[in-house]
């Protein structure tokens, strides 16, 4: 299609599309005032999460308990995308490996200033601690495996900003990251299977529920949080590694 024809067709279609979308949206309840008929699912969860599951963060309860099976699928979407990116960006036999760019002749390397390096090194351990805190407190306060995993993944990034790619490789070698990601993903299935064997339903809780508000509450939800944290952290670091594999001098654009 010619660009103008396309733009015209698009604008007309989108006008109609937006029109029907808005017409549908105006049939919804006014913002913040659901009619009593609707929202039964969310209200049910809000009323059940503390008495039955001892989980004070209802969102975590939905994610890892009531609709834990969805989250298993979501986790594997992430797993498959990361695996896919790794598969696509793999080296082909006919591609020359060549030396990394910052070892090539004639390439000016802009090293990070000492202040930046010091700051990044200093930030690594707080990032790890904060990540672990967010992962383990998912059932109590906002947070959990997904958010904490991303925060954990920022620690190797800080190492990269502070040092060289090689120190990043030493701290997080590719095989270790791949293993961590896979164990995180597989662990979720194993926890589900444990519920299947002990309580005859996949992803059924099989641990004591603990006291609401405690770190060790929510039964197997706490375990699931850990595996998801491992998977998400591993996945993001692996993405970082496969994209970085050959782009070594990355400091200047950042």
């Amino acid at each position: 299609m010619r660009p103008l024809v396309r733009l015209g067709l698009f604008l007309v279609s989108t006008a109609v599309f937006a029109g029907i979308f808005v017409a549908a949206l105006f049939d919804l309840h006014p913002l913040g005032h659901a009619d009593p008929l609707s929202a039964t699912y969310g209200d049910l969860v809000n009323s059940l999460t503390v008495p039955e599951r001892h989980i004070t963060d209802a969102v975590t309860a939905v994610n890892f308990d009531f609709r834990g099976f969805d989250t298993l699928g979501e986790e594997f979407i992430m797993f498959a995308s990361v695996l896919g990116a790794a598969l696509l960006l793999r080296k082909h036999a006919d591609e020359s490996a060549g030396p990394p760019i910052d070892k090539q002749q004639g390439r000016q390397i802009t090293l990070a200033s000492d202040a930046v390096r010091l700051l990044s090194v200093a930030l690594v351990s707080p990032a790890v601690l904060f990540g672990i805190y967010v992962v383990t407190h998912g059932q109590v306060t906002p947070g959990g495996g997904f958010q904490g995993g991303v925060i954990l993944a920022s620690a190797p990034l800080l190492i990269y900003v502070s040092g060289e790619f090689h120190s990043l490789r030493r701290v997080a070698p590719r095989w270790l990251v791949e293993a961590a990601e896979s164990i995180g993903a597989g662990g979720y299935v194993v926890i589900g299977a444990a519920g299947l064997l002990s309580a005859n339903a996949f992803l059924h809780n099989f641990l004591p529920l603990g006291r609401p508000g405690d770190v060790f509450s929510g039964g197997s939800v706490a375990l699931i949080d850990l595996t998801v944290g491992l998977e998400v952290a591993g996945g993001f670091i692996l993405l970082l590694l496969v994209f970085l594999e050959e782009v070594l001098v990355l400091r200047d654009p950042i």
Partner: protein, 114 residues
């Protein structure tokens, strides 16, 4: 205000698609897709919101306090994290397509199919 949050969803969907259709760069196109995606967040957020209700975290408030809908928030939360990896997969495809063909403009990429 009553329907502004809903209209935001339709607006973001249309604007993001406009970016996709008029894009001259695959990376730009993929970022525009993430704008389309934020439309679904706006919709879900508005649907789950209850005026005057608290966040669905019962750590400091007693269980039974009126709270907003946690289900839509759970749907959004996983989506936020998962979609970024799909975007990463798309970016990997775009980067590779550039490395193999030297082209980033989606209008040129159409010419090189097998």
């Amino acid at each position: 205000m009553t329907h502004l949050a809903y209209c935001l969803a339709a607006w973001l969907f249309a604007v993001g698609l406009y970016g996709v259709v008029t894009s001259r760069n695959m990376v730009h196109l993929i970022i525009c897709l993430s704008v389309v995606q934020s439309s679904t967040y706006a919709l879900l957020l508005a649907i789950g919101y209850r005026a005057g209700a608290a966040a669905p975290v019962f750590a400091d408030i007693p269980s039974g306090t009126p709270a907003v809908d946690p289900v839509v928030q759970a749907l959004m939360l996983t989506d936020v994290v998962v979609e970024v990896t799909i975007m990463a997969l798309l970016l990997a495809l775009a980067v590779l397509a550039y490395e193999r063909t030297g082209k980033l403009d989606p209008n040129d990429l159409g010419m090189i199919r097998g």
